[in-house]
């Protein structure tokens, strides 16, 4: 083989250099495009939903059926507050209801009496009317006799007085009948009082039920550091339950790559608890807003605009929510680091 003269003027060397630079540039351009079309991040976080477990009523913690880091099923009894005050309140409300029920019955009797009285007064008015009619007829009959002196004038006078009396009695009995009719009451107020007592009893029973706290979902007990004896005010959180029925990864993706991420896209997720096991997931949604330092400030105050002359602006990132499908529970701990590859990776091939 002929020995080639090695000179720095060699055009082959220049060609190789140009070729290498061109290839590196082209490959770099291609890789940038690929990276933008198939985004990935290593700053994801394993995420789940939480329930802050509290009772709407207060009291002394009597029984605690769970311990920290325990797994619970939906409906399991988590803890029980001292029910005695609430039992007593139920008893009080029960007695109150009985009282108002008795009041209703009493009122029924009163109304019956008043109705009977009204009936009597009406009959009295009828009697007074009959008597008045009789007195009027008597006066009519006696008037010609008295004028011809067939009867003593005294007798006619008495008949007239009797007519006058019976007229007054008739008026009075009419008024009495009207008053007695008006006086007939009803059950409205006592029934309303009974309804109030029924509602009070229902509230007391509800409060009693709230002394037993059950798990609203399957999950894990966290942040539990008290033992029975603790006194809790209403709505005081005793511990946090991490819901186990849905796990997510929140991956912050640069805004320039969001065009390549769509809800439903497959995602390969690695929980760094075991970085060799790919977990399949799919994009559920992309966050609609993050707080930006440039737009921070009170809404009522003037805009806060810092003076700056930055030439390079770091891309904003938005949280992309990825729902995991059938992951090993050992890999799922809220807050764990996760890497995410959208539309590629071992779980999506």
């Amino acid at each position: 083989m002929k020995k080639i003269s090695l000179s720095n003027r060699n055009p082959i060397g220049l060609a190789v250099a140009v070729l290498c630079i061109a290839a590196a540039s082209a490959l770099g351009y291609y890789v940038l495009g690929q990276d933008e079309s198939y985004p990935s991040t290593d700053s994801g976080t394993v995420d789940a939903e939480l329930v802050h477990i509290a009772s709407t009523v207060g009291g002394r913690l009597q029984a605690l059926n769970v311990h920290v880091n325990q797994s619970v099923k939906k409906g399991d009894v988590l803890y029980q507050l001292d029910p005695e005050p609430y039992t007593l309140a139920v008893q009080q409300a029960t007695a109150g209801l009985a009282l108002t029920q008795a009041g209703v019955e009493q009122q029924q009797r009163l109304v019956a009496v008043e109705a009977a009285n009204a009936d009597i007064a009406r009959n009295q008015a009828l009697r007074a009317k009959t008597n008045h009619d009789l007195a009027a007829r008597t006066v009519e009959r006696l008037r010609p006799l008295a004028s011809k002196s067939y009867i003593p004038w005294q007798q006619y006078d008495q008949a007239q007085v009797a007519l006058h009396d019976s007229g007054i009695t008739l008026d009075q009995s009419h008024q009495q009948a009207t008053a007695a009719q008006v006086a007939v009451g009803d059950l409205n107020s006592s029934i309303a009082a009974r309804q109030v007592a029924e509602a009070t009893l229902a509230q007391a029973r509800y409060a009693l039920r709230q002394t037993t706290v059950t798990a609203p979902a399957d999950g894990y007990v966290t942040s539990l550091r008290v033992i029975p004896g603790e006194v809790l005010i209403p709505s005081q959180v005793l511990f946090t339950l991490i819901a186990n029925d849905g796990w997510f990864v929140t991956a912050n993706m640069r805004e320039g790559t969001l065009h390549a991420i769509h809800p439903g896209d497959c995602a390969t997720v690695y929980s760094m608890i075991n970085r060799t096991t790919p977990i399949r997931g799919h994009v559920e949604s992309i966050g609609w807003g993050v707080l930006s330092a440039d737009s921070a400030g009170l809404s009522r105050a003037l805009p806060f605009v810092p003076r700056e002359m930055d030439w390079v602006h770091v891309a904003q990132r938005f949280p992309v929510r990825i729902r995991l499908e059938h992951a090993n529970p050992q890999l799922l701990r809220l807050g764990a680091t996760a890497t995410v590859e959208i539309r590629h990776g071992a779980a999506c091939d």
Partner: protein
């Protein structure tokens, strides 16, 4: 002779790419910190560039080259990018 050496060097050049897909997350734990995949690719690119320099010097290919800094940087870049594409790319 030297061209044959170059031909022999090509499989060596592509050897790191033979592993293809790397199983597991594209993030590598080291002493409690996670290092990104591109850092590994960059490291590989630097190593390959240095290695090629040594190899080419030994085989006298270096004498053929011009604009050596750009050439070796480009070769390292190509290696790193190819490795990223094959091991971590879509």
């Amino acid at each position: 002779m030297r061209y044959r050496s170059l031909q022999r060097a090509i499989p060596v050049l592509l050897l790191p790419l033979a592993g293809c897909k790397i199983a597991g997350a594209p993030s590598f734990p080291l002493a409690g910190a996670y290092f990104p995949s591109w850092m590994l690719c960059g490291l590989l690119g630097i190593l390959v560039a240095v290695g090629l320099r040594v190899l080419f010097l030994a085989t006298d290919i270096d004498a053929l080259l011009r604009l050596r800094l750009f050439t070796y940087v480009s070769l390292g870049t190509i290696t790193g990018l190819l490795f990223w594409l094959l091991a971590f790319g879509p």
